[in-house]
């Protein structure tokens, strides 16, 4: 595990210039945060390749199809980006509460209800100006999501209810509620085979970003990640959240409103997840139907953990996972593997990434506080 190879007596002869140490220490920590998840990813693909070999399938063909299906052509890239858009919001829904040490896994429900709320508001506004309609839809989604998961945060803060279980239960309830409304009150009588809400006005549709065939959800999602990073790393609010996540008692003694922080961060996460639902309705489907329940919330959990809850790392990871998921159809058709193949791969990656957590601080190469030790010890023993 120790990556240092230089013999210890060399160090006495060649002292390290101390001026470059802070920079190297900074770089070492950054590289560690990159190397361990990448190592886990590589190991995951390696183990999965062995698994495919044991089934008599070619791992090379599998990797080739993942590449071609997700990243290999302009069309594949656009498709992956399109899939990454909702994943950005879903991952933020996990990463923001994680700042407070909370594990919220109910993003799926907020996505579904957000999309439904957007579609529900669009119907009575039919004929209104485009900007007004879009703003109202987005606002309806944001509010719904904030209330839905903010409630989970409030229950955690003021009743001590386990937020992980509560958020997933809320997710199941949200899906049941959405099914009930889509097949009942909000159903478009014209949707015979696939129950849907009324299709929103053409004017309310959100179009592609300039120069791309990918809708604006991607751009807004990336901006949301940047803003979330600013919030958590560069504001007093984010700092307070991190203190509360580290030690609730200490935060309370400092007079921080921990309850409001918890409710606020979960509500923000819920609002962002619901925004993904809004874009799915306004930019992709045109109405709310069962396609909203696509599992984005669950992939978002994996992305947030792969990104180590860092909002800046979410876009690249979401793009990667979006691409892997986009290749699913191709893999099913060409390799005759079941559609759960990608789910299995994701579960394996998730396990390995979590196991990787144990490696932080174990490599001397990445741990500046260990660098001087051997030398100091060597210097003492040399007369």
């Amino acid at each position: 595990m120790v990556a240092e190879t230089a013999p210890s007596n060399m160090a006495v002869a060649v002292p390290r210039p101390s001026a470059s140490l802070p920079l190297r220490a900074w770089a070492a920590r950054r590289v560690e945060a990159l190397a361990i998840p990448l190592g886990a990813l590589a190991l995951g693909f390696g183990l999965f390749s062995l698994f495919l070999l044991s089934l008599g399938k070619s791992p090379a063909a599998f990797l080739d199809l993942v590449y071609r299906g997700g990243f290999g052509s302009a069309f594949a890239l656009q498709n992956s980006l399109q899939r990454a858009a909702p994943l950005l919001f879903a991952a933020l829904c996990v990463a923001l509460p994680a700042r407070l040490g909370l594990v919220v896994i109910g993003g799926e429900g907020a996505i579904v209800l957000g999309g439904l709320a957007a579609a529900a508001v669009a119907a009575p506004l039919s004929g209104a100006p485009s900007g007004l309609g879009i703003a109202a839809m987005a606002l309806a989604a944001l509010l719904t999501g904030a209330l839905w998961l903010g409630a989970v945060g409030a229950l955690r803060a003021w009743r001590g209810v386990n937020e992980t279980i509560a958020s997933l239960l809320m997710s199941y309830i949200a899906i049941a509620l959405a099914n009930h409304l889509i097949e009942g009150l909000l159903r478009d009588p014209g949707s015979l085979n696939k129950p849907s809400t009324r299709t929103i006005d053409e004017a309310f549709r959100v179009g592609p970003m300039p120069g791309l065939e990918v809708h604006w959800g991607l751009g807004v999602g990336v901006v949301a990640c940047l803003l979330a990073w600013l919030l958590t790393e560069r504001t007093t609010l984010g700092f307070a959240a991190r203190i509360a996540g580290g030690n609730v008692r200490a935060a309370q003694i400092q007079g921080l409103a921990v309850g409001r922080l918890i409710a606020g961060f979960t509500a923000l996460g819920g609002a962002l997840a619901a925004l993904a639902g809004f874009f799915e309705v306004a930019a992709v489907h045109g109405n709310a139907n069962a396609s909203l329940i696509a599992g984005y919330g669950y992939t978002g959990i994996l992305i947030a953990f792969l990104a180590r809850q860092n909002p800046l790392a979410i876009p690249p990871v979401a793009f990667l996972l979006g691409g892997i998921e986009a290749s699913s159809g191709l893999i099913q058709r060409r390799l005759h593997l079941p559609d759960a193949t990608i789910l299995l791969l994701e579960g394996l990656l998730f396990l390995l990434v979590l196991m990787g957590e144990t490696l932080y601080g174990r490599f001397k190469l990445f741990s500046p506080h260990l660098w001087g030790e051997k030398r100091a010890a060597a210097a003492q023993t040399v007369p």
């Binding site: 594990v103 896994i105 803060a157 001590g160 509620l177 789910l343 579960g347 998730f350 979590l354 144990t358």
Partner: protein
Amino acid sequence: MSDLGLWNVLIAVIGGAIRVSTPFLFVSLGETITERSGRINLGLEGTLVFGAMSAYATAVLTGSAWAGVAVAGAAGGLFGLAHGWICRLPRVNDVALGIALMLFGSGLAFFFGKAFIQPSAPQLPALPFGDWSDVPQIRAALQVNVLFLIGAVLSVLLWWAFRNTRTGLVVRIVGDSAEAARAMGYDVDRVRLLATGAGGVLAGIGGAYLSLYYPGSWNEGISSGQGLMAVALVVFARWNPLACFGAALLFGGAGALGPALQSVGVSQGYYLFYAAPYVLTLGVLIATSSPNHALAGAPGELGQAK
């Protein structure tokens, strides 16, 4: 709704409670063992799904439903041991690991289960306790599966064992204070590893019940959160195996409400009745949680996991 309809609903709910509660019972008993040792395993949802698939596949291939139960229990035990083993690594969060195992177990089950959606497997036997009655609804309601009876006996046995056996006491000591257990010379990680493994075995058997008796087939939506509800139910039951039995019946009854109403022709709000167990679980969680102090009966080490 007529008088007769109401009675029918009541009988159907009671019968449904007995039918639906078994997986809740097994998973919650398993989670009780695990949590009593001081760890929380949210991955039992995945274990339940994989147990259902492996039991069904085994029953199809061997023609024996009990072989399916055995394989599901063994597979569940492996999942539990995996959770217990990975949790020993420093800085690995047991809640996050549970979520990962939930996805992994479901992924593995869906991957290998594709081939078994079509074929039909032999079912677990049920005992007719309703033969004294001429009313067909009552006779149907009192068809009690053997696994339900085993679960009932098991909950009494576990309740007794936690109080009166050496093993039960060791698990409780480890769960209440790891330091005290270490001072007494017990290997905390080992006890937790075995307790999580035992929890997995029971969850796997719960899964076997799903696919081999009720609903009695294998499909990807077979569990839809029952494993997770059972974990929540443990808090409600205050980590007491006897209370788990009562709570499982209550949850089973809630789960049976939707189908029972549908059977007498109430089709309005099908999805909402379908959500009843989730709403009940949430209500129970809210009612039984406490903001300030640890719950009565809660293992002392568990607070750090939440």
